[in-house]
């Protein structure tokens, strides 16, 4: 198993607030990794750094051996918390952009997923509900055959029924030779899918390792451990 992400001594602050404080991590290939932590612990910041959206940090970040840049962006598929497509766009416009810029984008697969969600290419984003727009974004991310999927809170703000559909879409569509990094608060719903977890708090690494091993060592579920660690 090789390393897809290697982070050494990463620092990032917003004003005087240090959000990532000397963080060092490694993610291996062929794993589904849960990135866990309370609000404001730096999960989204870490993901933005991996995707090349935040550049004013200190430390060394390598994805497939390279610093974030055009190459790493071509192998990382990102699903941000926010919807980023313009209101005026149709779904087909978004597909056109992905087809033009990502050589690993599978348009046929995207159309198939659209049908599964009862959507079509001609629909305008403006005419869609927030939930529908989030599904379009998920389809765009999961229709790529990327080496690393970075999914920021894909389950937040959706009802339990949609949650299982989204999870099923992620699990059944990611490139099986790749690594999937999922940040979430809803640990109970997803911990069964994780191979590894990375638990962050106060800008630092609190716990990282294989889920089965952690459960065996502690005799507790990841959800229980999370509640214990971050109890107010």
């Amino acid at each position: 198993m090789s390393t897809i992400v290697e982070i050494n001594s990463l620092y990032k602050s917003y004003g005087s607030f240090m959000v990532l404080n000397n963080l060092s991590l490694k993610f291996e290939t062929n794993k589904i990794i849960g990135l866990l932590g309370p609000n404001g612990c730096g999960k989204t910041t870490l993901m933005k750094i991996l995707c090349g959206l935040i550049t004013d940090y200190y430390g060394d970040v390598r994805i497939d051996g390279q610093a974030p840049g055009p190459y790493t962006k071509s192998i990382v598929s990102y699903l941000p918390e926010k919807t980023y497509l313009s209101d005026w766009m149709r779904v087909s416009d978004a597909f056109d952009i992905f087809s033009d810029f990502y050589s690993d984008f599978d348009r046929a697969k995207a159309c198939e997923l659209l049908q599964r969600f009862h959507l079509n290419e001609h629909m305008k984003l403006k005419a869609m509900s927030k939930g529908m727009q989030e599904k379009v974004h998920l389809i765009l991310a999961m229709s790529r055959s990327a080496k690393l999927y970075v999914l920021d809170e894909p389950l937040s703000g959706v009802d339990p029924a949609s949650r299982s559909v989204i999870l099923e879409t992620i699990i059944s569509n990611y490139n099986k030779d790749s690594t999937v990094l999922i940040s979430t608060h809803l640990i109970y719903d997803v911990e069964q899918y994780f191979d590894d977890i990375v638990m962050m708090g106060f800008g630092q690494l609190i716990m990282a390792g294989n889920v089965d091993q952690i459960r065996q060592d502690t005799g507790k579920s990841i959800d229980e451990i999370f509640r214990e660690v971050f109890r107010c």
Partner: protein, 262 residues
């Protein structure tokens, strides 16, 4: 990749602006019909709309160019733009090329509206226009001072447009660096004025540099514009080109390592 970026940039920015061009042509034709059928209402309406169009096309173009840069790089759309597997300098080049194109088109539309107003108000006839154009072209090729002045005027428009885009993009980008990002809109405006004041100060000094073009001979001369002997200053133009390049380089460098999405 640059071609693909430009294609999508035109697609994104070209939804609103062309509507105004269609409106201008429609208004012009309405005015002509009003003239032909001697309908003063149509004629008056067309004149009014043509005047409005001159302001509208310029304002809308500026708003589209500025907001596109702001939203597409630093708003929610930035999550897509920032994760495209292309060099950031190509993204900046795309914004410069397309923004420049739309602004130049708005100048052409303004000129068309002005001629249109003269036509529909019978200040100029088609014969007179053809004759004037013929005379202008003839003079352009025969008279050095007309040729020099027109080329100088065109160069000034192109360079000033480029400088304007450079100032706006640089100001918005500086406002998205760490110290200013919390109030990025306010700081964008503030930085635009700060950059403008610096450039105007440089320009004020450069007026006294004896480097210009004599419009009557077309020769480069070591005289200032203030000498009063048909000399147009070149130092300002050259400095504006250099300043534009410097501002684009600063913007590019900040985009690479100093800016973040909120």
């Amino acid at each position: 990749m640059l071609g693909k970026l430009i294609k999508h940039e035109i697609r994104a920015t070209g939804r609103i602006i062309p509507m105004f061009y269609i409106a201008i042509v429609t208004t012009f034709l309405t005015g002509l019909i009003g003239n032909l059928i001697d309908n003063s209402y149509l004629h008056g309406l067309a004149t009014f709309l043509m005047i409005i169009s001159i302001f509208a096309i310029n304002i809308v173009t500026l708003v589209v160019v500025v907001t596109r840069y702001y939203k597409n790089l630093f708003g929610n759309e930035g999550y897509l733009t920032g994760t495209l597997p292309v060099d950031k300098s190509l993204i900046l080049a795309t914004k410069i090329i397309v923004g420049f194109g739309w602004i130049i088109l708005s100048y052409i539309a303004t000129a068309f509206c002005t001629f249109g107003l003269l036509f529909i108000n019978n200040e100029i006839t088609l014969e007179l226009f053809q004759q004037s154009l013929f005379e202008l072209v003839k003079t352009l090729f025969n008279e050095q001072y007309v040729r020099s002045t027109i080329f100088y005027f065109l160069a000034t428009i192109i360079i000033q447009t480029m400088l304007f885009i450079a100032k706006i993009y640089c100001a918005i980008t500086i406002a998205h660096t760490k110290p200013f990002i919390k109030h990025s809109v306010g700081f964008s405006i503030l930085w635009y004025f700060i950059i403008g004041i610096i450039i105007d100060s440089i320009d004020a000094i450069l007026i006294f540099i004896p480097f210009g073009i004599n419009v009557e001979t077309g020769h480069i001369v070591t005289e200032t514009m203030l000498s009063g002997s048909g000399v147009l200053g070149l130092a300002n133009l050259v400095s504006n080109v250099i300043v534009s390049i410097v501002l684009f380089l600063i913007t590019n460098s900040l985009l690479y390592s100093k800016t973040s999405l909120k």
